[in-house]
Amino acid sequence: MPGIENANPFAYVSTETIPQSPPPTAEKGVAGWLKKNLFATPRDTVLTIIVALILLWLVPPMLNWLFFDAVWTGDGREACLGEHVGACWAFVEAKFGQFMYGRYPVELRWRVDLTGILLIAGLVPIAIPSVPYKRENALYLLVIFPVVAFMLLTGWPFLEPVETTRWGGLLVTLVVAIVGIVVSFPLGILLALGRRSNLPIVKTMSIIFIEFWRGVPLITVLFMSSVMLPLFLPADVSFDKLLRALIGVALFSSAYMAEVIRGGLQAIPKGQYEAANAMALTFWQGMRLIILPQALKLVIPGIVNTFIGLFKDTSLVLIIGIFDLLGIVQQNFTDTNWISPATPATGLVFAAFVYFIFCFGMSRYSAFMEQRLDTGHKR
């Protein structure tokens, strides 16, 4: 319709675009954020005020206890006694060596340190996706490292031997957790495949095994491995206490791992199995090349959650008298040189912090891997 602009009969219609106005001040910036997130409705406002008051009541005393009133240096309990004394960090400082190594001989602790460095040297490159040589790296971690670590830690056969009863602290926690993880993963895959097998006996046995371990608490498993297992072995065979606990933990967590992996196997469409068969792959080839890479990728969060659970559960070994991190911290509460009202809380907060770092780190890494491997299997 030409000419409409020239002869505008509607004088009240604007001929030019009005420029955009800025949003109302209550909708943008700090004020907008506050309104949206804290004071959206009267109910929200009330809740915000209540929560803020609770935080004001809780947080300053906690900070005082942790930092401002805390005792940072001292050689004994006298430093940590008093009316308004917070955490007794001097206790942690004095016992730090024990918390890390247990009663491992001081002059041989370099062996533990070296093992730790070797582990980190293997773990860091495999955790960063862009670093090449993943196959060699995995070979190092799964074959070479365990042998070297075993020889370094026990001293067998070249170095001065160190009994496992002298191991303790974070060292034992990590040994139990890593052995549990490394053993339970392949065992879990085998059990999961067994549970989905068509062979009736294999299937039944896998189900019984899995359901049994999942139905009982870990403590009874540890009791069993420490009290009952020696009975079932020939009289002349005697087992290391730590090794018995390791067997219990590994069997226990493999059952949980199996259920997680089974979930992944079930999520793979049937066509993938049939395709593997059609390609004339053998069962194991099909599993290794087609099914497991997809299934495991799907259940990475579940696997990592099992690892985190296993890591936390390692603390239970203290009940059968193995001094892991928590065990050694707890044992030191009875040290007469350090008995004070603040000691247990300090020691436990320290241990909690260490466990938190490891577990939180694992869960963040799993979230990162989940994002990276998300190549479209969500339906």
Binding site: P217, V227, A345, F356
Partner: protein, 402 residues
């Protein structure tokens, strides 16, 4: 035999495949090997155990159940003295386990749902607070948390004399390092009438609920079932209480010398265990609840609003029923975990099944095989029963598909 090796080799071009490549034969062979290996392990284990036990002079069998236990237990729900049998001790432990698990499940569910909803709150402060709660408690071992409550919080409370109470003055409640003291209700004659009133009230509530849903199906009219039921539930027992002439005597606790006397005491071991179990499991339940609610598509909310449902009705009739389907299976395994985790009681000295039976009884009788087997079987039974119940419940709320 879909996944076992097929006869796909080109070399086997005619006639029957060699037995080596026959999936059926291979399957049978592997299973036979498996049976032989397992049977050998079981046999050698049993024969070793028999030999070892005979050498150590340990009796076997379950005769010890009838013997006198001879030890005290700190907290008992049923009558128990050190003259009671081992079986009685076993029952005491089992009941303690069941009680702490049931209460733990109740509290963990309540806290978990509240925190889970708080994580989805519009309010920044509440959302972040809930996140900090979940991330902290989830990543610290339960055993450590139990020890924390027990050794770092409850054990350093003042003793009864330091709490500032006056000698002999009764108090409603007091918390010190001996535990939490609350009044004790001593039932007198006629007290059972109140229990009956409670049962009747629950039955009435159920009947009203059934009648109301039937009427709603027929006429579309709604009935305030919850409020009516709650009213009956409160009014009826209270009324009975006054009609029967208040058949309860209340005993308050008071400071007597160095210790408290009177009232009921809830021991610090129990408080620590219940706190630890509830707070720890609640952090997992919160995540399950959050995931369940997020799993309900946004279109459902929009559809409910389009139909004119109020926000309240939308969450009650549309969102929650659908979220429950996602929530219930993982919730079940959390309940089972809580029950199994209650065995950590042994670390702080609460007399649960593992501490009483797997600890003291095992040490006194030395019959490790029987004691540990029974303990494991009990937990296994609880696990299987709970999961059977939850499967039934799950089937009831499951999506009915065409």
């Amino acid at each position: 035999m879909a996944h076992t090796d097929g006869v796909a080799d080109g070399t086997e071009d005619s006639g029957r495949a060699s037995l080596l490549y026959d999936p059926k034969a291979r399957g049978l062979f592997f299973q036979a090997v498996l049976i032989i290996v397992v049977a050998y392990l079981v046999y050698s284990g049993i024969s070793n155990a028999a030999g070892n036990l005979a050498r150590a002079g340990i009796a076997s069998g379950f005769g010890f159940f009838e013997e006198r236990a001879g030890f005290e237990i700190g907290q008992t729900l049923i009558h128990y003295t050190n003259d009671s049998t081992y079986f009685r001790a076993f029952l005491v432990g089992l009941l303690n386990t069941l009680m702490v698990s049931a209460l733990g499940i109740l509290f963990a569910t309540i806290i978990g749902f509240v925190v889970g909803l708080a994580r989805l709150s519009r309010n920044y402060l509440i959302r972040k607070l809930a996140t900090v709660y979940v991330e902290t408690l989830r990543n610290i071992p339960l055993l450590l948390q139990l020890l924390f409550w027990y050794k770092a919080v409850l054990a350093v409370l003042p003793n009864p004399r330091e709490t500032g109470l006056e000698q002999g003055t009764t108090v409603l409640w007091t918390l010190n390092n001996r535990g939490l003291y609350i009044p004790r209700l001593i039932p007198e004659a006629g007290a059972s009438a109140i229990l009956i009133a409670v049962v009747i009230a629950i039955a009435l509530w159920v009947v009203i609920g059934m009648w109301a849903s039937k009427r709603q199906m027929k006429t579309g009219q709604q009935f305030p079932t919850f409020l009516t039921g709650l009213g009956i539930f409160i009014v009826l027992p209270v009324l009975t209480f006054f009609l029967t002439g208040m058949p309860f005597d209340v005993e308050f606790s008071a400071l007597q010398g160095f210790n408290m006397s009177g009232g009921t005491v809830i021991r610090p071991e129990f408080i620590a265990l219940l706190l630890g179990l509830s707070l720890y499991t609640a952090s997992f339940i919160a995540e399950i609840v959050r995931a369940g609610i997020l799993a309900v598509a946004k279109g459902q909310t929009e559809a409910a609003y389009a139909l004119g449902l109020s926000p309240n009705h939308t969450s009650r009739l549309v969102i929650i029923p659908q979220a429950m389907r996602v929530i219930i299976p993982p919730l079940t395994s959390q309940y089972l975990n809580l029950t199994k985790n209650s065995s950590l009681a042994v670390a702080i000295g609460y007399p649960d099944l593992v501490a009483v039976f797997g600890g003291t009884v095992l040490n006194q009788t030395g019959q490790a095989v029987e004691v540990i087997t029974i303990t494991m079987l009990v937990y296994l039974t609880i696990s299987l029963l709970t999961s059977a119940f939850m499967n039934w419940f799950n089937a009831r709320v499951a999506l009915v598909e065409r």
